[in-house]
Symmetry: C2
Subunit: 279 residues, 2 copies
């Protein structure tokens, strides 16, 4: 009803609207799925992971910045409201451990844990995982057309290697690797929530590998944040280089390892997931 507020809402970035949570009580928030980040069925898992982390980020007792996050997708979310619980299970001098649960209709749909910590200056190096030599964002053509699912349209994706197969002909390509420049569309300054969603932005490695769209679903996602708030601020609305690859596909589950570097070549995230697949 308040014009200024309504106007703010209307101009809000779709990601900000999507991750908005309303406090319900101690450790509890209410959120809602967002059509802007809709998947084939229910919401994009990266958005759900970001919403889970957001409850930690909003918590008045939070100590420090996110260092690790693991979320397990226990059941597909249905479109609508959900409750997030984020509980500080242990608070130490410089680290804090969180237990997270997302529920719909009293049923658990996501379990998770996170670590936040006060960072300090130390000897640092990322020389063992340098950004690959790839064309700059301006030299790569954007993916054409609209995505098969709505959330894909919320990201600029410039595929360098390993785009969705042009032919779904079941050929084993022998390699599951994808390299792609990524950013929110429209542009939005990077933060820990959007970095979490970007960690899950890669289409299923088994589709890339086999050129076959078998049914899949991520069951567990872990994000290791190497970036500090200062680095996120200097990264701003720039592109991130994402690289993702599987190590093993075995009896119904495959893994995915991925990295996200900013344009300056700083490694912001390493992230891992285990994915269910059929056939």
């Amino acid at each position: 009803m308040e014009p200024a507020s309504a106007s703010t809402d209307a101009s809000a970035h779709p990601f900000d609207s999507a991750i908005a949570l309303t406090p319900l009580g101690l450790n509890l928030w209410q959120g809602h799925t967002s059509p802007a980040y809709g998947n084939m069925v229910g919401p994009f898992g990266g958005l759900t992971a970001a919403q889970a982390l957001q409850a930690v980020l909003l918590h008045p007792q939070r100590l420090g910045e996110p260092v690790t996050l693991t979320v397990n997708f226990a059941a597909g979310l249905t479109d609508g409201d959900f409750v997030v619980e984020a509980r500080p299970a242990r608070t130490n001098r410089a680290t804090q451990h969180w237990v997270i649960e997302v529920r719909q209709q009293e049923q658990v749909v996501l379990t998770g844990t996170a670590l936040t910590a006060l960072r300090r200056d130390t000897w640092s190096s990322q020389s063992e995982s340098p950004m690959p030599q790839v064309p700059r964002p301006g030299e790569v053509a954007p993916a054409q057309g609209r995505g098969l699912v709505e959330w894909v349209n919320r990201y600029d994706m410039l595929f360098i290697e390993g785009a969705l197969p042009a032919l779904w002909n079941g050929t084993d390509h022998g390699l599951s690797r994808t390299r792609v420049w990524l950013r929110d569309r429209p542009g939005r300054p990077l933060d820990f929530a959007s970095l979490t969603a970007l960690s899950d932005v890669f289409f299923p490695r088994i589709w890339r590998r086999r050129a076959t769209r078998v049914p899949i679903g991520t069951v567990s996602l872990t994000v290791y944040f190497h970036a500090t708030t200062a680095q996120l601020q200097t990264t701003g609305t720039g592109y991130l280089l994402g690289q993702a690859q599987a190590e093993a596909f075995h009896q119904g589950f495959f893994d995915q390892n991925a990295q996200l570097w900013n344009e300056a070549g700083e490694l912001l995230v390493t992230t891992h997931q285990m994915v269910y697949y059929k056939e």
Copy 2:
């Protein structure tokens, strides 16, 4: 008091004694730290992770085999008793999600989650993560002398590359990678609990990289089990090839990626951890 039982205990493998849990009630078990797996202070973290998984493995409602496990070390365990809670948060047709907590004196010392699942035969491949070409176990000299800490003596370790630095002279070696043949000492048929402990058996990557023993502590460990029970049985008491490397060391935390293959070259585990370090 019962002679046969006492004799069984005396002949039990130290790992079996160490992971033994006593039921306390619904979802609850009591365990104890084990001097045989003692670390500098408190127990070896891999053993604690195995004890956490063991509560899931022993649970009468468990569905299927372990597929993922994440444990967060919230505080150092003190030597003595602890309570493990393993709660099935969601049970689906073929997958089951677990929430785990370890407590000492009512304080949380470990948080965790796990996924168990019924596996099924599918297209499978691990060609993107082949076992490196390395000398066979019989061709590699065992590590000499007793370990700095007790738990190290519970493992045979045949270092191929990246053993503990011979000189702690602070040289940046530029590479944090270790390759080592590993197995329980004395031999013990591999199972999911011992595979979990073996996932955490690598000494800190920052010691290897910098030849400096800075204070460290694993804060979060994730294990992806690619192995099935049948593969564990055929692996038996054979060696596993372990490979571990860091991608980023940044402001107090570094990551570690590792793989475990059996002697036949089957990838049994990919595992990741985030480690606190000082200086």
